[in-house]
């Protein structure tokens, strides 16, 4: 069996939606376990008020709760159960780390995220591909 555990990164962007669809297709075909990793992204750096940090965290939590529910529902429609894991952090660091910790054998992610910061230090997809211990599928 080519893939037993697949990790797909989701952030609500169009590219990550397409990546999620491909990951579901692959999981169904390979009878693999699928986990959707919601990467919340960093909190505002050097904040001036706790309120700014708190509100951004709350917005992110709420956004990713809705995203997780949508991912589960889309998985159910395809006939599979999707496990959800939502964590704060930088996607380029977090995705390879979670993949290695969880011994995934494929990472699926979109080629572009939501924000300019995702491209500031080079593409997140490129950096994940460089650091990952397993094959990486980048969906356009």
């Amino acid at each position: 069996m080519p893939f037993e555990k697949i990790l797909v990164a989701i952030d609500g962007s169009e590219c990550s939606d397409r990546a999620f669809d491909k990951a579901v297709e692959l999981a169904v075909l390979a009878h693999a376990r699928l986990t959707a990793l919601g990467v919340e992204g960093p909190l505002p750096a050097y904040a001036a008020t706790v309120g700014e940090v708190d509100e951004v965290k709350r917005e992110k939590d709420s956004f990713f709760r809705a995203l997780a529910a949508a991912a589960r529902s889309r998985g159910e429609q395809a006939g599979i159960e999707v496990a959800i894991d939502v964590r704060p952090g930088h996607p380029a660091e977090l995705i390879p780390r979670v993949a290695e910790e969880g011994r995934y054998d494929l990472i699926v992610l979109g080629h572009r995220g939501h924000f300019v910061r995702d491209r500031l230090l080079g593409s997140t997809a490129d950096r994940v591909a460089e650091q990952a211990h397993c094959p990486v599928m980048i969906v356009r």
Binding site: V28, H31, P44, T49, V50, D85, F115, R117
Partner: protein
């Protein structure tokens, strides 16, 4: 440039700052401060009186909010461990910066006190963001660190109020009203908010604003700075806000949308890029004068109370931003420091928000054990499920 032209320019700047903040993940306050420097120096703008007024009130609101954001029950649990870290974190740089600027740089006594206060602060917000990202806010280390930051904050606002008071007879009504508000507002708030709250006209926000304006007026008449009563008022309201999250959220919306941007823009516009450029050596000396005593004082205590993250804790306790800006702006507005000294202090405050945080995250990032992943059932075809 006319007042309305300046207002339009600054409103556009505030909007740009918000979008940049979302796109690159930096605090909006820091970007507002930076864009304030750019706009102020590029257009040679002086701070108009309306901006100065709004900015002063926003500074008071930020002080109130800082008090309201303190986790009082947590502080009660951790105060013994946090007290020593927080006090050393305040007094070590206050003494060193004060003495250095007075004897070494030839500043006057009150200028040296402003310098010492501005560079003795620790930023609760910067610390909090890092702790939440690392997950340490749930651990004892994080709780002690936040409580210690609170101690440093209250020492700063107490210093600001006490050191610069030149008492007049108005000190009496200022003290009486401060005590009455601090004792009365938390008691009256539940009734007032129940009867008048949850409306789009926001009487509960107006109650806070009226209280703060009253403190500012009486503080001004008493030749004092109302930071301490504003902070303690926020502190006494923190329990109420914990139970009524929506009220705090609405206050934050009003503050972030309209008031705090003008506070940070005003701070940025008052910075002279030329003065900074001409005094890079002094800037470096002041930065070292803040960082070295903070770190030397905090590290031994951090080894005792926040092991095994002592270096990480020490670096975070060396950060500063909001209270450093509030103190520097007070010094400038009160005519205690000139624009050059203000520019130097603000630059050191901003550097102290960025440099220790970046070093802590890059080299001393604690690896908190993440909760285990949820068990994952294998994917199955719908037909197999049936």
């Amino acid at each position: 440039m006319s007042d309305i032209a300046v207002a339009a320019l600054l409103a556009g700047t505030v909007l740009v700052a918000s979008t940049i903040s979302v796109e690159i993940g930096l605090s909006v306050a820091l970007i507002e401060l930076f864009l304030g420097v750019v706009v102020g120096n590029a257009f040679h703008l002086d701070v108009p009186s309306w901006l100065s007024f709004l900015g002063s009130f926003a500074g008071m609101l930020l002080t109130f909010q800082a008090g309201a954001e303190v986790d009082v029950p947590q502080f009660r649990r951790e105060w013994k461990a946090s007290l020593s870290i927080g006090l050393v974190s305040f007094f070590a740089p206050f003494a060193v910066v004060g003495l250095l600027t007075y004897y070494g740089l030839g500043w006057e006594r009150r200028q040296a006190e402003i310098g010492g206060l501005a560079l003795s602060t620790t930023s609760l917000a910067v610390v909090y963001a890092v702790l939440v990202e690392t997950g340490l806010n749930r651990e004892l280390v994080g709780k002690r660190l936040m409580s210690a930051t609170f101690v440093t904050d209250i020492a700063t606002v107490a210093g600001l109020t006490i050191l610069f008071v030149k008492p007049t007879i108005w000190v009496v009504p200022f003290a009486v009203v401060s005590i009455a508000l601090i004792a009365g507002l938390p008691a009256a708030a539940p009734w007032f908010f129940r009867r008048y709250g949850n409306r789009v006209i926001e009487p509960e926000v107006k109650l806070v604003f009226a209280s703060l304006f009253l403190l500012m007026w009486l503080g001004g008449r008493a030749n004092s700075q109302p930071a301490l009563p504003a902070f303690i008022l926020g502190l006494t309201m923190s329990g109420h806000y914990v139970q009524h999250r929506k009220e705090q959220e609405r206050l934050r919306v009003v503050a972030f949308a309209f008031l705090t941007p003008f506070f940070f823009l005003k701070g940025g516009m008052s910075v002279s890029a030329g003065a900074l450029w001409a005094n890079l050596g002094v800037l470096a000396v002041l930065f070292v004068a803040k960082m070295v005593p903070k770190m030397a004082g905090v590290y031994p205590l951090a080894r005792r109370y926040t092991a095994p993250h002592a270096t990480f804790t020490t670096l975070l306790m060396s950060t500063g931003l909001t209270f450093g800006t509030i103190t520097s702006l007070y010094g400038l507005n009160a005519g205690i420091i000139d624009r050059t000294k203000f520019s130097l202090l603000i630059a050191v405050v901003v550097l102290s928000a960025i440099v220790p945080t970046a070093i802590a995250q890059r080299f001393f990032h604690p690896h908190v054990v993440e909760p285990p992943l949820a068990p994952m059932p294998p994917a199955r075809l719908e037909s197999e499920v049936a």
